[in-house]
Symmetry: C2
Subunit: 321 residues, 2 copies
């Protein structure tokens, strides 16, 4: 029988997302189980095994139909061995995830970092639309990224490639970043960064919508800032412009060096949609080589939370062919 | 008989460098012929054929001993087809270099951009020392680059990857660049950029060594600036510091994203040697993620003009295995 199913798994600190995915990257079934981080995460693989077998039985899927399992894990992964140096949120340290999975379940398993696989998912079935050269950026609490070049995930020497959030964009008096530097992209273009920029100036602009929100709620969210900017509040607009100008600069500088076909923008902040995209594109055009400015597509991510499992299945498919 | 020789060719606007290289990347023989750019470069392949056959006869090398030919060409190359979109200095436009070579010479031929192959050469046998993840930057009249990730040259979507010189580093009032933008790395860190920065301030600093050189010669070279800086001339030091600070910023931002094991600095400006390297490293450490700052090696290129033919042989070897 042809092995034409792939299992895609995305392990997060709260839940493990599992899926059966066909060879075209379509999700046939998806479900979640809670992540049991007790005892340094030693129950996670057993939980995956149980849940997978239960679904296989209920869906009439035999092990012989499954070609491979792909897994995205949060943290520092050595991909060749499927070895987790450290996944702080799961409790794993120096953990042989690949061999543990293969011993328990008996299906070839391949592992990569979850952000990289989300990028691969968007490349395969999402906004990347099958392009071989894709740069993905995720604007959430931080700024994450993944790079696909020539159809392969770029890992770099220590698996640290894709740390787009720590590109230095504010050269003078930049805000301190968790990484130990200052002026990182993450300090201005993440949800947290947008809020920080807004809070810095909100009390000095009493006429702004944001000031009223701040007075009323005692706090501001990045959505408040983006909504106020869309409502043409001058102060909010200034904040969002500054934030997206830095993002466009960082993306243009990367695009000049790696020449992606498509740049995919995802994460919570990207829910501001085309409004945000047009700001990013404007800044990108200022800083990219003219041919790169005109030919690089910038798009919103479309897979949402499914990107991780689809990318995981892609990894399994690619490695087991 | 085992095919254990590779031909590496580096085509420049003035001369064509040719070589026989063994499978370990060692040059067994190298020589040059002038580049005949007459008639839109239509004689170049014939000249290569004649020169190659002459050397094969005189060295007792049979065609059956040659596995493949690799060629680096200046310009815009579609690597899969070995097709030259445009090589302005040679007169080629929409030229099927690979098929032309294979028809004339009868040996499998593979083509890439010359800057990419120089990077591959340094990776294979030079300062990259066989590392799979290498970032090469060439500081000459302009600033060029090549990226090797996971042992493969990064080409990007339109073969434009590696355009490190056009990373924007001066955000405000940057000098105009040939690419149409302003504030590019090339405007401050190339030989031309260093001279430009020096000329901007030299007349206002009459006490500097550089001022005397300028008065005496009526001009300044980048070597003058670097020599004066090494001699602790305050103004020259300020210029070189500024130039190398921007270079360290651009390299750190790239390293944060692609995590190379080794960064190789080549080109004429790099002759300033360890002096330059220590300045670049200092700036790199300021702008790179701490782990990347501590673990990335920055080295001077060591192959000089041989990098291109060695990288070309590498390409041929890699593609014909």
């Amino acid at each position: 029988m042809e092995k034409n199913l792939f299992v895609g798994i995305d392990i997060g600190g709260t839940s493990v997302k599992l899926s059966f995915i066909d060879k075209e990257g379509r999700i046939k079934e998806k479900w979640e189980i809670p992540t049991n981080t007790n005892d340094n995460g030693k129950h996670i693989v057993g939980d995956i095994k149980k849940s997978l077998h239960k679904q296989m039985v209920s869906r009439g899927i035999k092990q012989s139909m499954i070609k491979s399992i792909g897994i995205g894990a949060p943290g520092f992964v050595e991909v060749d061995r499927g070895f987790i140096y450290e996944a702080v949120n799961l409790g794993w340290k120096n953990y042989h995830l690949k061999s543990e999975m293969e011993r328990e379940i008996g299906i070839p398993t391949f592992v990569d970092n979850d952000a990289n696989l989300a990028a691969a998912g968007e490349m395969w079935r999402g906004a990347g639309n099958g392009a071989n050269n894709v740069l993905c950026v995720t604007l959430g609490t931080g700024v994450g990224g993944g790079i696909v070049a020539g159809g392969e995930i770029v890992h770099g020497q220590f698996g640290m490639a894709g740390e787009i959030g720590h590109i230095t964009v504010v050269l003078k008096d930049g805000a301190p970043c968790n990484c130990g530097k200052s002026g990182c992209l993450e300090t201005v273009s993440s949800a947290t960064g947008i809020v920080r920029l807004a809070k810095e100036g909100v009390q000095a602009t009493p006429s702004s919508i944001l000031n009223k929100v701040y007075e009323h709620q005692g706090d501001i969210t990045s959505k408040d800032v983006l909504d106020a900017a869309k409502g043409n509040d001058a102060f909010a607009l200034k904040v969002v412009n500054e934030s997206m100008n830095y993002l466009g600069l960082a993306l243009a500088n990367l695009a000049n060096a790696i020449n992606p076909e498509i740049i995919v923008i995802g994460g919570g902040v990207s829910r501001a949609g085309d409004y945000l995209l047009s700001m990013i594109s404007k800044s990108f055009s200022t800083y990219a080589i003219p041919k790169i400015a005109s030919d690089t597509k910038i798009r919103l991510a479309i897979l949402g939370n499914d990107a991780g499992v689809i990318g995981a299945a892609w990894l399994g498919k690619q490695r087991s062919m």
